[in-house]
């Protein structure tokens, strides 16, 4: 998921589409949270107080909620010693991942991801953006059918690593003029990346989120999006307070019982399923 603008439901969309891919397509899915320091994907699945990392100090381990899962930090992938580490620790991928409880696994972003950008800045340009792609090929491919990245909403070395690794870019957008401008910028940036590097990222899926059908401007936004972008989906995600309530309980809409779903909750759930179907069809075509 990648758009530079924050607050467009990237994380919500990543979580729901990962679950939909696992649940309805029987895929082994892993989510990787590279949105530095946000912990949003952990919160989505109720894992915020459950997870700590091997290099955190003891204050974090004594935090309320008694963290009971200690993970290897994904930031290690970007370090100088990664090759040695992965060659000598057999189950390194298992040690980075935690089960979401709704099907997919999650590799959460550890606090030291914030310093990865500086580290990457000193790496030679030809090697700077391929670190994550190498990790996917060498270490994740044997375990998973689908890898979804939740990328930082900023133009950073980490985000570009995600773009290189994924190639298939998903851009959720909530209604707004600024969001449309960000999408245009993203298109230009992807073209520039393709011109200057041996990689061909493309906007595989664009869709509107948090849409209130009662608001004319929102509906026009979705229609405008569909007209302007070939890969925009006519499917949009309805605004639903139930998304937030489910997140508060540490789950996606798919974790809720059928009988507690509101109309908008049900619509949003079905939309994410349809969007996932579309995405999978496009990336496997």
């Amino acid at each position: 998921m990648f758009v530079e603008k924050g607050g467009v439901a990237k994380t919500t969309s990543a979580g729901h589409m990962a679950v939909a891919a696992s649940k309805f397509h029987d895929l082994d899915v892993v989510l990787i949270d590279l949105a530095t320091g946000q912990k949003d994907l952990m919160a989505q699945f109720g894992l915020k107080d459950v997870v700590t990392w091997t290099n955190q100090d003891d204050d974090a381990k004594d935090a309320p909620g008694d963290p009971d899962v200690e993970l290897a930090p994904v930031s290690a992938v970007f370090g100088d010693d990664w090759e040695f580490i992965r060659s000598n620790i057999d189950n390194i991928v298992d040690r980075m991942t935690v089960a979401t409880g709704e099907g997919p696994d999650l590799i959460p972003g550890d606090p030291n991801l914030g310093s990865v950008d500086n580290q990457l800045a000193s790496v030679a340009l030809e090697d700077r953006y391929v670190v994550l792609d190498q990790f996917v090929s060498d270490d994740l491919a044997e375990h998973y059918d689908l890898v979804l990245f939740d990328l930082p909403g900023a133009d950073s070395n980490v985000a570009l690593n995600g773009v290189f690794a994924a190639s298939n870019i998903v851009a959720p957008l909530s209604p707004g003029k600024f969001e449309r401008e960000q999408l245009s910028k993203l298109e230009r940036d992807l073209e520039l990346i393709a011109q200057n590097n041996p990689v061909d990222p493309w906007l595989a899926l664009v869709f509107a989120t948090r849409l209130d059908r009662r608001q004319t401007l929102d509906v026009e936004f979705a229609e405008d999006l569909a007209d302007a972008y070939e890969t925009a989906s006519s499917e949009y995600v309805t605004k639903s307070a139930q998304v937030g309530y489910a997140q508060g309980d540490g789950m996606t809409l798919y974790g809720l019982d059928e009988d507690v779903l509101t109309n908008t909750g049900r619509e949003a759930r079905e939309s994410y399923r349809a969007l996932t179907d579309t995405l999978l069809r496009r990336i496997t075509a």
């Binding site: 320091g37 091997t54 290099n55 955190q56 100090d57 003891d58 204050d59 004594d62 290897a72 930090p73 930031s75 290690a76 370090g79 100088d80 010693d81 040695f84 580490i85 060659s87 000598n88 620790i89 606090p111 030291n112 914030g114 310093s115 990865v116 500086n118 580290q119 000193s122």
Partner: protein
């Protein structure tokens, strides 16, 4: 566990520190040295901007001591003794709180001028941030 496995585990835990050491040594190469007070003030700014405030260390003897104190139930006494030395307010007794205070006591006893410089730098940073 083989030696290489052990080294890999240590590297996994030290990833962040290696990164900061690289940044620090890069900054020192070819640069004029920065007075300590200014450097500390800049570090507060960096921490506020998101630089990690984690400091980790690996030491067999200290680890054995601290684990032993926890197991024997004597960690609280050590915590109290250190807090008395510092005149510190009571806080939750954890491994980290004991180590924090131990480092502070050690620095204060060994290099009191350095600690004074750090206090002055913090005051300066806080008064600048207030505006």
């Amino acid at each position: 566990m083989t030696d290489d496995e052990k080294t890999a585990e240590e590297l996994l835990g030290e990833t962040a520190n290696q990164r900061f050491e690289t940044e620090a040594s890069d900054a020192q190469e070819g640069d004029e040295s920065t007075p300590l007070g200014d450097a500390i003030t800049e570090s507060y700014e960096e921490i506020d901007a998101g630089r990690s405030q984690n400091l980790t260390l690996r030491d067999d003897d200290l680890a054995a001591l601290v684990f032993g104190l926890e197991a024997s139930g004597d960690l609280d006494d050590v915590h109290e003794a250190l807090a008395d030395k510092l005149g510190a307010d009571p806080e939750k007794v954890t491994r980290a709180s004991v180590l924090r205070m131990a480092v502070r006591v050690g620095l204060r006893d060994a290099v009191p001028e350095t600690v004074q410089t750090a206090r002055e730098a913090k005051s300066e940073y806080e008064s600048e941030s207030a505006f």
